[in-house]
C-alpha cells in the first residue's frame, strides 16, 4: 500500500468521526501543553535565577568561613569536619591564602545590612559593603572615580542604588536622585543590652557610581574597608567585636572560573570552609532540575491519560467498522495493511495533539509570564524592579521537539492494541456484523 494512500485513508477515517477525533486530540493537547508549560516554567525559573548569578564576576568569587562559624550557620556541603582546633581567620591566614595559585585578590567580607545612607531628605536601606583595593579591582566605575583603600569617607554606589531611596517625611519612595558628588551620612543604630538605642552618624561623600553588573553589586554601597570595620563596631557594640585582626568571613577572588575549584580545595585543606558561587549554583541547579523533573512527570501523567483516550477512541471505532474491516480483508487487504491503518490513525492523533499542544503550552506559559511580570512590577518594592524583566518561562529546543515526539510515541503505543485487534478479526464474522 502506498504511503500517500495510507495517509489519505487515515485522514478520511479520522474525518469520519470528527467530533470523537477532536475530543481525543484535545486530550493529547492538554497533556502536551501541561508538560510544555510546567517544564518551561521550571526551566525558565532556573535560568532566570541562576542567570542572575552567572555573570563571571560572581562566578570567580569564593566565600571563606572559619570552621566553627560554618557549623553555627548550619551544614554546608563540602565541609570536612575538623577536630577541636579552630583556626581563626586573621591577617596571617589572609597572606597564606593570597599565595594559593590562582588567587587574584582577597577582601574581608564585611557587610552591614542595617546601616542607612541619608542624602538630603532621602534615605536608602541598601546594604553597605567594605572594599579593599583587591575588591575595588573587581568593580567597574561608570561615573566618577573609585576611592582608595585609605580614603575614609569616600563611598561608591552600585548602578541601581539611586532607585532605592525614600523620602524621610513622606516615606514615599522616590525615583532617581542625584548622587554623584553628593554629601550625606551613613547612620548606624546600636541596640545596647540595657534596651536603649544609640545612633551614630558618619559623614560621607559619594565619589563614584558603578556600571550595571548584577543585582548584588548594583544594589550595594561600597565603603573603604577600615570604615566598614568601624561601622561594624558601631553597630554591634563592644561585646560582639572579634579580636583585633580577626574576620568572620573573607572573600577570595580567583583569576579565572577554572581555577575556582582548586582554590576551594586548598582552602578547605587549610581547615576552613570555602564556598564558591559555583558550588551554590550547582546545588541550586540540581534542585531546580529535580523540581522541573517532577513538574514534567506531572505533565506526563496527563499525557498518559490522553493516551488511554486514544486507545478508547480507536477500539470503539473498530466496533463500528467491523463490517468494513471484513470487506477490506475480503478484497485482499493483509493483516499488516489493516494494522498499519489503525496504527497511523493513532499516530496522527498523537501528532496533531503534540503540535497543537506545544503551541498551546507555549502560549499559556508566555501568558503566565506576562501576568507574573505585571504583578511583580506593580506590587513589589522598587528594589526588585530589575526582576520585572524576568523571563520565567523558557522553552528550549529539546522541550519543543521532545514534547511532540513524546506525544507521537504515545500515539504509537496507544495504537498497538487496537491495531492488532482489528487486524486479527475473522473476516467472515466481521462481514456478518450489522
Amino acid at each position: 500500500m502506498k504511503f500517500s494512500d495510507l495517509i489519505k485513508i487515515v485522514i478520511k477515517n479520522l474525518k469520519r468521526m470528527k467530533i470523537r477525533t477532536a475530543l481525543t486530540v484535545i486530550g493529547v493537547i492538554v497533556g502536551t501543553a501541561a508538560i510544555v508549560a510546567l517544564v518551561g516554567i521550571g526551566t525558565g525559573f532556573q535560568k532566570s535565577i541562576t542567570g542572575q548569578f552567572e555573570s563571571v564576576g560572581l562566578a570567580k568569587s569564593i566565600q571563606v568561613y572559619p570552621q566553627k562559624l560554618a557549623r553555627v550557620m548550619g551544614p554546608i556541603h563540602g565541609t570536612k569536619p575538623t577536630e577541636a582546633e579552630e583556626v581563626p581567620l586573621d591577617d596571617k591566614i589572609i597572606k597564606e591564602i593570597s599565595e594559593i595559585e590562582g588567587v587574584e585578590g582577597i577582601c574581608p567580607l564585611i557587610t552591614l545590612k542595617d546601616a542607612k545612607l541619608q542624602i538630603g531628605n532621602y534615605i536608602s536601606q541598601a546594604s553597605t559593603v567594605g572594599a579593599n583595593d583587591d575588591m575595588l579591582k573587581q568593580l567597574d566605575i561608570e561615573f566618577g572615580e573609585k576611592f582608595k583603600e585609605t580614603d575614609l569617607r569616600y563611598i561608591i554606589v552600585g548602578s541601581d542604588i539611586n532607585k532605592t531611596f525614600y523620602d524621610i517625611n513622606t516615606e514615599k519612595s522616590v525615583d532617581e536622585i542625584e548622587l554623584l558628588g553628593q554629601k550625606g551620612r551613613i547612620i548606624v543604630e546600636q541596640y545596647s543590652k540595657e534596651g536603649g538605642t544609640s545612633i551614630t552618624k558618619f559623614p560621607v561623600i559619594v565619589v563614584g557610581i558603578l556600571e550595571q553588573s548584577y543585582p548584588d553589586y548594583d544594589l550595594s554601597i561600597f565603603v573603604p574597608i577600615e570604615f566598614a570595620e568601624r561601622l561594624q563596631k558601631a553597630s554591634r557594640g563592644e561585646s560582639f567585636a572579634l579580636r583585633e585582626g580577626e574576620y568572620t568571613a573573607i572573600q577570595v577572588f580567583s583569576e579565572s572560573v577554572e581555577k575556582v575549584d582548586s582554590i576551594v580545595e586548598k582552602i578547605n585543606e587549610m581547615g576552613f570552609n570555602a564556598m564558591s558561587m559555583e558550588q551554590i549554583l550547582g546545588t541550586i541547579s540540581t534542585i531546580f532540575t529535580i523540581l522541573t523533573g517532577v513538574l514534567g512527570a506531572l505533565g506526563a501523567i496527563a499525557l498518559f491519560v490522553a493516551a488511554i483516550g486514544i486507545v478508547n477512541t480507536l477500539v470503539m471505532s473498530i466496533y463500528e467498522r467491523f463490517r468494513e474491516i471484513g470487506i477490506m480483508k475480503a478484497v485482499g487487504a493483509s493483516n499488516s495493511d489493516i494494522n498499519k491503518i489503525f496504527l497511523y490513525e493513532a499516530r496522527a492523533i498523537g501528532f496533531m495533539g503534540g503540535v497543537f499542544g506545544v503551541i498551546a503550552g507555549y502560549i499559556f506559559g508566555k501568558g503566565l509570564n506576562i501576568i507574573a511580570s505585571y504583578f511583580i512590577q506593580t506590587y513589589t518594592e522598587d528594589g526588585l524592579a530589575s526582576l520585572s524583566n524576568l523571563n520565567l518561562f523558557e522553552v528550549p529546543f529539546w522541550l519543543f521537539f521532545g514534547a511532540i515526539i513524546f506525544a507521537i510515541l504515545l500515539g504509537v503505543i496507544a495504537g498497538v492494541y487496537p491495531a492488532r485487534r482489528a487486524a486479527r478479526l475473522d473476516p467472515i464474522d466481521a462481514l456478518r456484523h450489522e
Binding site: M1, R323, M328, A333
Partner: protein, 245 residues
C-alpha cells in the same frame, strides 16, 4: 514468491483443466459444547472458465463452501487446490494475497463501503496492490462504464438502486482481474427483473472474460444460468447436474 504462484496469467502456467479441486474437504465449527459439521467430505473438481451453481437451503453449507474456495476460511480437514496450489496450507498473508489476486467476491448485501463513492469503492482493492492513483481511477472508470454506470461514478451507495449497487460490487470484484469470481446469493436482495439483469452481467463476464464463476443460491431458477449445478444438503453433495436448462 508466493505472489507469482497465485497470479496465474496465461503466460505463466501449464494448462491444467481444473482450476479448483476440493479433496475430502470437511469443515467443522464448535458451537458451545457441540461440534457442527458444516461440510462433510466434499470432493469436487471445477473446470477453468466454468459457470457453476451451488444450490441448497439455508444451513446446507453452500456459503461455507464458497468461503473456503474464496480463502476466507481454512478447511478443518482436506485440501483445496487452486491452480495447482494447496491453499489450505497458506499463511494469513498468503491468504490475503490470494483474495487480492485470485478471487473476487460478490455478496448478497453488496458490502460496499457507504462512505465512499462508487468509483472509490471500485478502486479500493487496487490500493492494497500499490497501484498508482491515476491508474486506479482510469481502470475503475472503464469498468464502471462498461457496466453502464458511467454517470454514477460520484454517487454514494445510498444514492444507488439495488441493481446499481450490485453492479458496483461486481465491478469491484473484477477490478484486479481475478481468476475466480464468487457470488453469494447475488440476487438475494433484488427483485426478479433486476436479478435477471445481474445474472446476465455475471454470465457475460464468465463468457467474455473467461473467468470461472461460482454462484451460491437457494433459487433454482437462478441456477439455470449456469453450466453445472451442484446440490448441497446437510454439508454433503447430493446431486450434480450437467448442462444448460
Amino acid at each position: 514468491m508466493i505472489i507469482n504462484k497465485v497470479i496465474s496469467k496465461n503466460n505463466l502456467k501449464k494448462e491444467s483443466n481444473y482450476i479448483v479441486e476440493l479433496e475430502n474437504v470437511s469443515e467443522e465449527f464448535k458451537m458451545g459444547s457441540s461440534v457442527i459439521k458444516a461440510l462433510d467430505n466434499i470432493n469436487l473438481k471445477i473446470k477453468r472458465g466454468e459457470f457453476l451453481s451451488v444450490i441448497g437451503t439455508s444451513g446446507s453449507g453452500k456459503s461455507t463452501l464458497l468461503n473456503l474456495i474464496g480463502g476466507l476460511l481454512k478447511p478443518t480437514i482436506g485440501k483445496i487446490i487452486v491452480d495447482e496450489i494447496d491453499i489450505s496450507t497458506y499463511s494469513d498473508n498468503e491468504m490475503a494475497n490470494y483474495r487480492k489476486n485470485m478471487v473476487g467476491f460478490v455478496f448478497q448485501s453488496f458490502n460496499l463501503i457507504p462512505t465512499l463513492t462508487a468509483l472509490e469503492n471500485v478502486e479500493y482493492p487496487m490500493i492494497f496492490s500499490g497501484i498508482s492513483r491515476i491508474e486506479r481511477l482510469k481502470r475503475s472508470e472503464e469498468v464502471l462504464e462498461k457496466l453502464g454506470l458511467g454517470d454514477r461514478l460520484k454517487h454514494n451507495p445510498t444514492e444507488l438502486s439495488g441493481g446499481e449497487q450490485q453492479r458496483v460490487s461486481i465491478a469491484r470484484a473484477i477490478i484486479n482481474e481475478p481468476e475466480i469470481i464468487l457470488a453469494d446469493e447475488p440476487t438475494g436482495n433484488l427483485d426478479s427483473k433486476t436479478g435477471k439483469g445481474i445474472m446476465d452481467v455475471l454470465k457475460t463476464i464468465n463468457e467474455e472474460m473467461k473467468r470461472t464463476l461460482i454462484v451460491v443460491t437457494h433459487d433454482i431458477y437462478i441456477s439455470y444460468y449456469s453450466d453445472r449445478r451442484v446440490y448441497l444438503s446437510d454439508g454433503k453433495i447430493v446431486k450434480i447436474e450437467e448442462g444448460k436448462v
